[in-house]
Symmetry: C2
């Protein structure tokens, strides 16, 4: 009466990712020994190498999983979608080891010298900034690719600031302030007030209450 | 024929700060053992405790010294001064262990849970944003304190991104992109083009060629 093989494989994969996310979050990527991760997951090295190939492969899977935790909650488009992604992220980060591990991975000196931790977020931001451009929502002259790079960098720094000052309790408010500074610069003139980056919207979205 | 006592004290202080900056930059704050710092400086623990009280005191002195390395180069005011600080910082960071140590200290999990590494930068940014407000340079509704917090966070994140992607070679260009996104949002309508955040200006200022 064992589980089907495929289901077991999915659960093993998930257990390794959850355990690694917690250990990355607690010890940083460099300090997260494979044995610590295996002990936390209650699994063998064979399982880790079978599913992910290496510690780096495991870290990449965690980074990719971040967006899967956020995107299904959202139905908005263009610039509001961009804002919404950061709102949900800012509300869920304090309680979600997976999102926190993603942040921790972006701080590592050693691993991912190619910028991997930033690239998948940048690509996601660029998708919605290009959509915003097509919808006529962007100020003339705003380059969606440059703006995507900046938003990813800014979110990273804003959460570091909030972490140091108050353990990230103020992060949703800091993200609202970020958009207060940023929206009048990237939205078409006179339209910044049409977007909602408020803490209340972020709370609703993070609880799974979809808003267009 | 020894040096005057006071001059020797100044040199000892500087030697400790330079050695600590290098070691923080290479090993992070947590990994920077006091013995490593003393060995690099060629000095004793007594000197460190006499001048700084603790490793944390030494780190604080390094953070405060960052601004002393930048401010004397600048004569601009208001919003252009704010921009200029970030330009010089972005040009000098790749080659200046002191500035890099300041950045490294802001990433530490353990030390400075009170946000110290960010606070002195935030205060400096706020001085010039308030000046910009008094000069009528800010868009109506922009809060100088909130904007100062955001600029410090954004700079931190932008340099992390540049560090991961290309070892900070692109940092001056990323800072220019930051201001492209940000100036139209915080400057009075129609005035963003009056400010120069270009890589060429940053190079000039970082070489000590003063520009108003």
């Amino acid at each position: 009466m064992g589980q089907p093989k495929q289901e077991r494989a999915v659960q093993t994969r998930l257990a390794l990712m959850r355990a690694a996310a917690e250990v990355f979050d607690e010890h940083g990527y460099a300090g997260a020994g494979i044995n610590k991760i295996l002990k936390r997951a209650g699994l063998t090295a064979g399982a880790l190498y079978f599913h992910f190939g290496s510690k780096e492969g495991l870290a990449e899977a965690i980074m990719n999983a971040q967006q899967d935790a956020i995107e299904p909650l959202l139905e908005s488009q263009g610039l509001q979608r961009l804002v919404d992604i950061t709102l949900v992220w800012s509300h869920r980060l304090p309680a979600d080891p997976l999102l926190r591990a993603g942040v921790e991975l972006s701080l590592g000196h050693e691993a991912f010298a190619d910028g991997t931790p930033f690239e998948s977020w940048r690509e996601l931001m660029a998708v919605y900034l290009r959509e915003a451009h097509e919808l006529g929502q962007l100020r003339e002259g705003v380059d969606p690719e440059a703006a995507a790079r900046f938003v990813v960098g800014a979110c990273t720094g804003v959460q570091l600031y909030a972490r140091q000052v108050d353990g990230r309790q103020s992060l949703p408010r800091r993200v609202e302030e970020m958009w207060d500074c940023l929206l009048p610069g990237i939205a078409a003139p006179g339209t910044a007030h049409e977007y909602d980056a408020g803490v209340a919207r972020g709370e609703r979205l993070a609880r799974g209450q979809v808003a267009a």
